[in-house]
């Protein structure tokens, strides 16, 4: 993150609901982070490491670029 608006955004909240209303806690347990971290990622308050980003995509059974979007300046 850093200065200005976040450049990495995501659709995790919508994708969780699309996958049988998966809870934040269920996703957190599957990817090995706390529920508060999933909440921070969804709110664009934290950009996860590449490893966690891949784990999220895998848990949602989607390619990485369907979950995360990188916005050019």
């Amino acid at each position: 993150m850093g200065k200005g608006a976040p450049r990495i955004s995501n659709d995790i909240r919508a994708l969780r609901f699309a996958r049988g209303e998966m809870t934040q806690q269920a996703l957190a347990d599957r990817i090995g982070v706390t529920r508060q971290t999933v909440n921070a990622i969804e709110g664009n308050k934290y950009s996860p490491s590449l490893e966690v980003a891949f784990r999220i995509a895998r848990a949602l059974e989607l390619p990485l670029e369907k979950v995360f979007q990188y916005e050019e300046d």
């Binding site: 993150m1 982070v33 706390t34 508060q36 921070a40 709110g43 664009n44 308050k45 996860p48 490491s49």
Partner: protein, 137 residues
């Protein structure tokens, strides 16, 4: 408010440090002497005892209501950024204490500036972490 175990733990540490060392400095500074006296050492030991007791009790209460004490990469990143912020305060305090040691008689001012710097650096470290948990890294 939705807080993790780690964030609740930081609040316990912050309030414990603030309470105990506010009491310590409010008690010791009016009885300041050129050098540290035995009663100052006793008060310091009592303050450390209070701090251990307050933090131990606080963490037991947190653990009873929130047994999940997991940490992850975000906790580690926030801890590192907090430590970085606190380290500047500690470094500034150490040099201020050294300056005081050269310019004053006795060791009271030197030791208490060092102690105050350490307390302040811990408070800054914890406050920075609490800010990052709420407003993002």
């Amino acid at each position: 408010m939705d807080m993790s175990f780690k964030e609740k733990s930081l609040w316990v540490q912050l309030l414990g440090l603030l309470g105990v060392y506010a009491w310590y400095f409010a008690t010791v500074l009016p009885a300041a002497a050129p050098s540290v006296m035995p009663q100052h050492v006793v008060l310091f030991a009592v303050a450390v005892g209070y701090l251990v007791a307050v933090q131990g009790a606080g963490h037991i209460v947190i653990a009873v209501f929130d047994p999940r004490d997991d940490t992850d990469e975000r906790d580690r990143l926030i801890a590192l950024k907090g430590a970085y912020a606190g380290s500047w305060v500690l470094a500034a305090g150490v040099f201020t204490a050294l300056y005081a040691a050269i310019g004053t008689e006795g060791n009271f001012l030197f030791t208490h500036l060092l102690l105050a710097s350490w307390v302040l650096s811990c408070l800054v470290e914890i406050a920075a972490q609490l800010y990052l948990y709420r407003h993002g890294t």
